[in-house]
Symmetry: C2
Subunit: 138 residues, 2 copies
């Protein structure tokens, strides 16, 4: 399990350090998206706040995790599927935020629909965020 994590880091030419292994493992374990605060809670004082910021930044830059926009001045991070890991990013799935448990879930099976824009607009990326009640909170 930790070997997987280390492999991912190496594939991205990143030094294998305690903090990176720990943080990436966290994402592997939980299959829902995590906010900065979520991770900070889980890791406690294991490493500095700054390290977490920089680690997340590094992971995003390398396409290991991707950002999910929110309306509450926070950002959620989620693991990218294998296809992204190669550096090219296509997390074209829908994100679901549960109003009850507040989890953010990647619905990998649900692809984003294509949307026709008015003349003159060129689409680069489509992000779909659905809020509602998730399966476990019904």
């Amino acid at each position: 399990m930790n070997t997987d994590v280390k492999e991912i880091l190496k594939q991205n030419r990143l030094s294998v350090t305690d903090s990176r292994v720990k943080i990436l493992s966290l994402f592997m374990k939980k299959e829902n998206a995590l906010s900065h605060a979520d991770i900070e809670k889980s890791t406690g004082d294991l490493f500095d706040r700054v390290t977490l910021y920089r680690t997340l930044q590094t992971f995003v830059e390398n396409g290991i995790i991707h950002l999910i926009p929110t309306t509450d001045n926070s950002v959620k991070y989620a693991l990218c599927k294998d296809e992204c890991a190669k550096g090219h990013h296509h997390d074209d799935h829908v994100h679901f935020i549960c109003d009850a448990c507040n989890r953010t879930i990647c619905l990998d099976a649900v692809h984003v629909p294509s949307v026709k824009l008015p003349k003159g607009f060129r689409t680069h990326h489509v992000e779909v965020i659905i809020s509602g009640i998730c399966e476990s909170c019904q």
Copy 2:
């Protein structure tokens, strides 16, 4: 023009104050979404930072403006169309963020597509954010 603004405030049973009129006018003038920082820049020292926070909060609560999620730890606010103003919220249109000029635009004409979720998920709200190049930046 200012009368429109005052009418909206009255319709929502809000006191008509200088700051509210000014801020709401700003939204009427620009037809794209504004961040807290954008507004602060426009208004200068006209009123306190705190007043701006509280005003935006009040507007959101009353359905005068709505939130647009972003990936940069900020939130954008945009005017709601007439239908929302009554208190019931249905800003079911697509939001577009231009990678070039960085404007956030409400594409009122483009309705969000319906998305089928896996069993057990109940949809409450669908938010679609498309990034790319806007008409003026081609």
